[in-house]
Subunit: 233 residues, 2 copies
DNA sequence: AATTGTGAATTCCTTCACAGCC
DNA sequence: GGCTGTGAAGGAATTCACAATT
């Protein structure tokens, strides 16, 4: 167990390990070695061991890791022991889709509020019956609903203002879909999902077939996950 | 101009530079130095210069870069001189949203076909009037429509099979929203958008406030973009 | 015998700093 | 004088390889 600063590349991989362990547990596997996991899921065994070792000594030499136990450790480390309450701001196509997205609404994240400043949208309900509220109440509802994560799905020009507003209300974690860089205050984490960059990256690949950027494994994947925070947009 | 292999971190940054240049051009700026761009958009000037230098000598010493000219160079490098034709497979909430998403339908990427294997969805039209087609025709329509990029928005369990199918039809670039790792054949590029990892990363941050993972700049952001390819899921 | 946890080696990426050019 | 392009330095992440442990 170290005290070093832990890279976001490492914590992103924890999510992947958790997903692997969920699969293994569903298959009835009780223990797994880092090598077996690496083989099955295209990972590097030393990296798995090193990543886990930042947080404790979870393995047993000669045996491997107990699947159920490690799974619970990872849930704990990732803060997934209680459901996180989420709000979506901006109910255009993307925001609406996210509001209905099953991946969110079953499990560790629960969408509990929807906001938009378009009067035509206020009062509209999603398929699941949740009502879109006006933007003027964001602050108080975030506090009263105990919202910890905000998803920004507004146009690029409005994103910075929305970040300001939710930061003011005490939100410290933001998932930003607007294709723009946001400068969060210290202590606030913004994670970006930038579809433009993803698509242009594919376009680059098509335009430059000689760059055999194929079969990239976790490295490349997680780098992008990690950089979806950072900076500009 | 080098012949080195170019990292995906570099090409992802090209997208960001392009976005900056679009803004600068819209503001009427005609030339810009790497330092000025770095200051304005939270970048590192040496990195901008180095990234650009992989592709040519676009700058003028003592002056900087001509905004319009560099913009065109980047469009060319990123393969954005012609509209890329895109299909979406899987018209659940997410797929439907992407089908209606304005960011795609104006500009460099055009959605030209929608597929789903749910009989209840076949024949349904999006807001813009595009009709969802059955999955059995994917191969021939991909070829006849000249589709170069496929967006996978099916459940995790179906994603690998869909990848196989579109690869067979000649598609070499895939944007995968299913939370699962896909193993593309050599020469095929898969870019992942994994909302689970993004959200769990925010949850980790909330659970571990001491890790001041704040104010990460391009490094972190682009790593995640880069890693959205790689491996498992 | 098998597998972890980890220092050392390696590879990859970023930043510095300056020669070269406009 | 100002700025690019780039070699060299520095820093970070990954992988190797093995001592420690069950």
């Amino acid at each position: 167990m170290k005290t070093e600063k832990i890279s976001e590349l490492t914590t992103n991989r924890l999510s992947i390990y958790l997903r692997c362990l969920n699969e293994l547990e569903a298959s009835g596997v009780e223990t797994v070695s880092s090598q077996a996991m690496a083989d099955q899921f295209n990972l590097n065994s030393a990296q798995i061991r090193k990543d886990l070792a930042y947080f404790g000594e979870f393995g047993v030499r000669g045996v491997g890791y107990y699947v159920e136990e490690l799974r619970l450790h990872l849930m704990k480390i990732l803060g997934l022991t209680e459901t996180r309450r989420v709000a979506i701001i901006g109910l255009g196509n993307l925001g609406m889709a996210l509001a209905n997205y099953q991946g969110f609404n079953q499990g560790d994240f629960e969408i509990v509020a929807l906001f938009d400043d378009d009067p035509a949208k206020i009062g509209v309900r999603t398929r699941s019956g949740m009502e879109i509220q006006g933007a003027q109440n964001i602050g108080e509802i975030i506090e009263s609903e105990g919202i910890e994560i905000v998803i920004i799905a507004v146009p690029a020009t409005a994103a910075e203002r929305v970040l300001e507003q939710v930061t003011e209300a005490g939100v410290r974690a933001v998932l930003n879909f607007a294709p723009v860089h946001l400068n969060p205050r210290p202590g606030v984490k913004v994670k970006n999902v930038d579809l433009t960059i993803s698509l242009e990256s594919l376009s680059y690949f098509l335009a430059n077939p000689s760059d055999e950027a194929l079969n990239v494994h976790y490295r490349e994947f997680l780098r992008q996950e990690a950089s979806n925070n950072g900076a500009l947009g």
